[in-house]
């Protein structure tokens, strides 16, 4: 697989973003969701956490604030409200429960970047050869035709986020998507949590990304 480093995107003169982007993390209590929330809380964002219930979200918020969050942390009792306020949406719920969430957020996710990190658990471990004609990310894009779905982080397990935060060595993460502005936005987000973004192509490359497993 040929990878195109996204570092060049950040060598150009970028528009200053003193404005804090709002990121909704749907499934902030899931392992990857909470690891992402922890990492993003150190960056200049406004996070809106959605968990199984309000109580869980509040516990997460308290924990993040206690750890010295730089980001603003909010909670929302429902995914729709969180996504309505958000500029970027991270789908951190398991693949199997995504559809239910999508129905709730569809209307308010129009025009927004939606990050797919799921790896369908129904699939057994496969070889690196792509063998299917779709992916979770592409299915998500079909269900959210007016959103800009980007695949990333699915090759990184939760523990690696923490490791990346405490070590000086930056891991890489692959990014795939159909929209250049969305790829740029997600690359910036990936950099902000200490990873090096590698844009690998359009959303169809998710078919391969979703079969990759790293321990």
């Amino acid at each position: 697989m040929r990878a195109c480093p996204a570092i060049a995107l950040y060598n150009k003169t970028a528009t200053t973003m003193a404005f804090k982007q709002s990121i909704a993390i749907i499934g902030a209590d899931e392992s990857i969701g909470s690891a992402l929330a922890k990492s993003l809380s150190k960056a200049n964002y406004r996070l809106i956490l959605v968990a199984k219930d309000q109580g869980e979200s509040d516990i997460l918020k308290s924990a993040l604030l206690h750890d010295g969050a730089k980001a603003e942390i909010e909670t929302a009792s429902c995914a729709r409200e969180a996504c309505w306020e958000a500029d970027i949406i991270i789908m951190a719920t398991p693949y199997e429960t995504e559809r239910e969430v999508i129905e709730k957020i569809k209307e308010v996710a129009v025009g927004k970047v939606v990050i797919s990190i799921s790896t369908p658990s129904a699939r057994p471990y496969r070889s690196l050869e792509p063998s299917q004609d779709t992916s979770a990310a592409e299915e998500l894009q079909k269900l959210l035709p007016y959103s800009k779905v980007v695949k990333t982080f699915n090759t990184v397990f939760a523990k690696n986020f923490i490791a990346s935060m405490i070590s000086s060595k930056n891991g890489e993460t692959f990014i795939a998507g159909n929209n250049n502005d969305a790829l740029e936005t997600v690359s910036r987000l990936v950099l902000s949590v200490g990873f090096i973004p590698i844009v690998v192509g359009d959303l169809s490359v998710s078919r391969r990304l979703e079969t990759l497993h790293f321990s």
């Binding site: 528009t15 973003m17 003193a18 404005f19 129009v110 025009g111």
Partner: protein, 193 residues
């Protein structure tokens, strides 16, 4: 979610039900809480914003940290830093929500795609711009030649409910008078009734 937008469009152009539905997909629905900013001066303005619900103020800050309100935007109005939006230069204005607000945002590329896809919307935006130019001309003339009281009376005649939704400080700034002058005018008007 698109009630006010549909009304605003219907006032100026006639679209088919299909096109009415279609234009919705070009807008980004965005909720802002009170005191949240849509735009910071110095950033590039990415959007023109239509207010479905709520109230925004656009203001600049001078060298002495004084705030100057250029515009308010309530339901059915549009807000943006047009110069920054069109040129990509740094915005002069801050845009802040004075109430919890529901906005529909258009990026420049979405606007271009919308106009290509539904050409009748060119007329909608032309009429908006025409009205805007007229209003701005009137406002400059009022600023140059009206007394403080005349400016205030014109504002409350046009938007009687608006006064209750914004602070005296913001209204005074918009009118180009001090809060103390505004307070005196209000007392005098109340006395005359």
């Amino acid at each position: 979610m698109y009630k006010r937008l549909n009304e605003s469009v219907r006032e100026k152009v006639t679209l088919t039900p299909e096109d009415t539905e279609l234009i919705h997909h070009y807008f980004i629905p965005k909720k802002l809480r009170k005191r949240q900013y849509l735009l910071n001066a110095g950033d590039v303005c990415q959007y023109i914003a239509f207010v479905e619900k709520g109230l925004l103020r656009s203001f600049s800050i001078d060298d002495k940290a004084g705030e100057h309100v250029i515009q308010f935007a309530m339901e059915g109005w549009w807000a943006s830093d047009m110069s920054s939006f069109l040129s990509g230069d740094d915005a002069l204005y801050n845009i802040e929500a004075l109430e919890d607000s529901e906005l529909l945002l258009l990026t420049k590329s979405a606007l271009e795609e919308l106009l290509e896809r539904v050409p009748k919307m060119e007329r909608y935006f032309r009429l908006l711009m025409q009205n805007n130019i007229v209003a701005l001309q009137r406002r400059v003339t009022s600023s140059q030649s009206d007394t403080a009281e005349e400016k205030y009376v014109k504002l409350i005649d046009a938007y009687p409910d608006f006064i209750h939704r914004s602070s005296q400080h913001d209204v005074a700034s918009y009118l180009g008078i001090t809060p103390e002058t505004l307070s005196r005018i209000r007392r005098q008007l109340a006395t005359r009734k």
